[in-house]
């Protein structure tokens, strides 16, 4: 079927079957490879994208469910050369090792901060527990999320 995906502010008219998985449409058809395959069962969060501002596991999302909605992938988070505060915080805290989980981590954190701008440590852990960092960078990721929460939101209207 013909279907329109709105990804990072850009419209894509695609001919796809409605049950195709969003993760693979993004990766294989639109070459937006920032969302990663980690498990295909919604357990690791590497495939996280934002749909209308909510963190969603794109490996468990049929493309038809995302049609017409505002999809944000890691490639669409920065404004030109200006990193999103969460991206900046991950760089500053060096909250990554191999980096494979990083896009999903960042997008989950963006969604968290969007509805809980000043999260406690417990809130961060509870919200982020569905994202796995096999390199074990958890402490620094928590630090980065806290750090991002201190940045002025006016500097970067998330718009996601």
């Amino acid at each position: 079927m013909a279907l329109t995906l709105l990804v990072n502010g850009k419209e894509h008219n695609l001919e796809v079957s409605p049950e195709e998985i969003l993760l693979y449409v993004l990766r294989d058809r639109l070459d937006l490879t920032g969302a990663k395959y980690g498990c295909g069962e919604g357990q690791c969060g590497a495939c996280t994208v934002l749909i209308d501002g909510s963190a969603v596991r794109s490996c468990r999302t049929q493309v038809s469910a995302a049609a017409g909605k505002k999809i944000t992938t890691i490639e669409g988070l920065a404004r030109g050369d200006t990193l999103h505060p969460v991206q900046k915080a991950f760089v500053q805290a060096e909250a990554l090792q191999c980096g494979y989980c990083t896009p999903g981590m960042i997008l989950s954190a963006v969604a968290l901060l969007d509805h809980t701008p000043k999260p406690t440590g417990k809130q961060i852990v509870r919200y982020m527990d569905g994202n796995i960092c096999r390199c074990g960078t958890y402490e620094r990721i928590i630090e980065a999320v806290r750090f991002a929460a201190t940045f002025s939101r006016s500097k970067h209207e998330s718009g996601v």
Partner: protein
């Protein structure tokens, strides 16, 4: 064959740096433009020089090289690979230090068999002690060459000149010339054979500092392309039809339904069956449509694992697998107290978040493969053997990968993608599913460790340590004991097993440091005091003390449900001590806090090192507490993340790292050793809290038992 359980060790032992290559084949100047190439060779010949643009054949063993371009850009070539351990940055720091250029001007070309020097692989914590040393040498040599070039230009003595910030300076005449100006218009290759003077760690300005991760921005924006993200024009998607059990033979195969699908190629070669199609969905449907019948032999199951390992000892032994000192038999007679216990470790999986992936492309008889591996040159050999072609016709490229932890020494996906691409006549990308990664990769060896010990007056009288199958790494005890017998017994293992971060050192430290704790308890001695009484190694004593001080080892427990445990050891040249605090509530064990003191010699990048240590603690906790592969008759029973628990945010304790920076000691690798103390420290803390002694990893496979065993 020796120790099939320990390929890493085997690889350590076959360091065949006989690779002779032809420098001209790698035409740096064509790729990178003019400038200066400096190579360090391990031969004993006098320095050679060629000014003919690298066309000359230099058939010597070259260990490493770098190129200084006409703009001053420095490109360093190393066969090591980046899997998250941060060597892209820490190695660049060491080049920066010796070459006297900013880190930002350095590009690291890593793990590309056509561009980089031969390298055995990135494992065994050898990148820092060996590659770091080599790159410092090549950078110091390049600085010497540039100084000499400036001296010739200015008709002065090299001794009058100094190098700083990408320039050579003559302080007396105040002349300055940049490396770019010195090398402009040149196509100069210098091969250096002697050892240049290196900067000692106490004078480091760039090395030893927390230089930010080189390409961090690429990871936070999604710009970095992992192998699974790559595509090449005309590329197909591959899918392998897997057997229903290990060691299965293909009895029959009907691919006719799959072949009817548009654009699908079905490949059958021996026991290999796979498909290639224009998109992922078609490849999956085609693979599902192949009707394959497999015959699998009966195979051992998890329920009999530990008996099996003990009764299937391999006949061939390596003399290095046994350490004998003094006489255990005599000491057994005079020891005041003896203790005998058995410890076990389960099979566990590496679970790199990026499963195995490869893109393979044939152009005529030449093959290029992009794949995530710790051994690009090893994968090249695998491909050469698989396709009966020369290694010269194969290029393996490894982009920074979604980690490995010792789990990507091999090239399965590379061989499979290349096989599919060969028949399909187009490039093929193959990405393993999580289930494939859990099933068809290899595992950290399971093992049984038997310890018999004796003490007198708080001192070890004898020590017997028999490790079945899990491997010899870290099996020798750092404690003073005159009478000992320590042995590794390789077994015919029921599952495919191989390297893993810290390898057997995690198992051996678990057994040894748990047993030391049991002895201390028998003697009614403080566990730290008992260790110190039996320990002379000054550096290990220092990290034990540092960890205990930071933790507040002497402090009283707040509540009976709280427990403290300590463990430590020497591994891969580093010294580590770990103190864990657990709290137990209604049978639930929570690791609350971990203090880890680590001495790996002179620290190259403190920020990166802390990341490695915290990561090792978290990864070690998974194997310590709950990770285990369950298997039955040649099948993996829990090949999904829903069934195989890895540590998450909620499992991560507070981690306090104490870096014991020994600038007087050579820098050692740090990816592995920080992992070895966590399991015994936690087991000892659980005993301290509950009186329950757990001797099997994972400790909480079935939760906390209700009574002491």
């Amino acid at each position: 064959m020796k120790a099939a359980s320990d390929p890493e060790l085997q690889q350590h032992q076959r360091i065949l740096r006989l690779h002779r290559f032809d420098l001209g084949r790698r035409d740096f100047f064509k790729v990178l433009g003019g400038g200066l190439v400096v190579c360090v060779a391990s031969g004993r010949l006098a320095a050679q020089e060629s000014g003919d643009g690298g066309r000359r054949q230099v058939s010597e063993t070259l260990d490493s090289w770098l190129h200084i371009g006409e703009t001053g850009q420095v490109t360093v070539f190393t066969g090591k690979v980046e899997v998250g351990q941060n060597i892209r940055t820490s190695l660049a720091q060491q080049v920066s230090e010796e070459l006297r250029v900013p880190v930002s001007t350095i590009t690291m070309v890593m793990g590309d068999t056509d561009l980089t020097p031969y390298d055995m692989g990135t494992f065994g914590s050898r990148s820092t002690p060996q590659m770091g040393t080599q790159l410092r040498k090549v950078a110091a040599s390049a600085r010497a060459v540039l100084t000499q070039m400036a001296a010739e230009r200015w008709h002065t003595d090299e001794a009058n000149l100094l190098a700083a910030e990408g320039t050579i300076r003559d302080p007396k005449s105040r002349r300055v010339i940049s490396y770019a100006d010195l090398t402009r218009g040149q196509k100069l290759t210098k091969v250096v054979f002697n050892d240049p003077p290196e900067t000692s760690a106490d004078k480091w300005k760039v090395a030893g500092t927390s230089t930010p991760k080189k390409n961090a921005q690429d990871f936070v924006t999604g710009a970095h392309k992992y192998v699974s993200d790559l595509s090449v024009p005309g590329m197909l998607f591959g899918k392998v039809v897997r057997p229903n059990a290990f060691h299965a033979n293909l009895a029959s195969c009907d691919g006719s339904q799959a072949e009817k699908m548009p654009g699908v190629t079905v490949v059958r070669d021996g026991d290999f069956v796979g498909v290639a199609a224009e998109d992922r969905g078609t490849a999956e449907r085609a693979a599902a449509a192949v009707r394959a019948q497999w015959n699998a032999p009966a195979q051992p199951s998890e329920s009999e694992l530990f008996d099996y390992l003990k009764t299937h000892e391999q006949k061939e032994k390596d003399p290095d697998d046994e350490i004998i000192k003094g006489s255990v038999e005599e000491a057994r007679v005079w020891a005041a107290k003896t203790l005998q216990q058995t410890y076990t470790v389960a099979y566990i999986a590496h679970v790199p978040l990026e499963p195995r992936a490869a893109v393979a492309e044939w152009k005529g008889s030449k093959l290029t493969v992009w794949t995530g591996t710790q051994r690009p040159f090893g994968v090249r050999s695998e491909l050469a053997q698989a396709f009966h072609i020369s290694e010269d016709d194969i290029r393996v490229i490894m982009p920074d990968t979604g980690s490995a932890y010792g789990g990507k020494h091999t090239g399965e996906a590379a061989v499979e993608a290349a096989r599919l691409a060969k028949t399909a006549g187009k490039p093929v990308k193959l990405t393993w599913t999580r289930e494939e990664e859990f099933t068809w990769a290899y595992f950290r060896p399971a093992g049984v460790i038997e310890v018999r010990s004796g003490v007198k007056d708080g001192t070890l009288a004898f020590w017997e340590f028999d490790n079945y199958n899990s491997g010899p790494s870290g099996m020798s005890t750092p404690y003073e004991v005159a009478n000992q017998r320590v042995a590794f017994h390789p077994s015919d293992a029921p599952l495919r097993q191989g390297s893993y971060r810290s390898l057997a050192a995690a198992a051996n430290h678990f057994a040894r440091e748990s047993h030391m704790d049991e002895l201390a308890h028998e003697l009614k001695m403080d566990p730290l005091e008992f260790r110190m009484k039996n320990l002379k190694d000054e550096r290990l004593r220092a990290v034990f003390q540092a960890a205990a001080d930071k933790f507040g080892w002497a402090k009283a427990k707040n509540s009976p449900s709280q427990g403290f445990g300590i463990a430590g050891g020497i591994e891969k040249g580093g010294r580590v001590a770990t103190v864990a605090e657990v709290s137990i509530s209604r049978g639930e064990v929570k690791v609350v806090r971990v203090v880890e003191a680590f001495d790996c010699g002179a620290v190259v990048n403190p920020q990166g090192l802390r990341n490695q240590i915290a990561g090792a603690v978290v990864q070690g906790l998974g194997g310590a507490l709950f990770e285990a592969i369950h298997f039955e008759n040649g099948r993996i029973l829990n090949p999904h993340l829903a069934e195989y628990r890895v540590p998450r945010f909620s499992d991560a304790p507070q981690i306090d790292v104490v870096l014991v920076d020994r600038k007087d000691q050579p820098s050692m690798g740090a990816g592995e050793t920080p992992l070895v103390g966590i399991a015994p420290a936690v087991a000892n803390a659980i005993f301290n809290a509950s009186g329950i002694r757990l001797r099997s990893m994972p400790l909480l496979a079935r939760g906390l038992p209700s009574k002491a065993t």
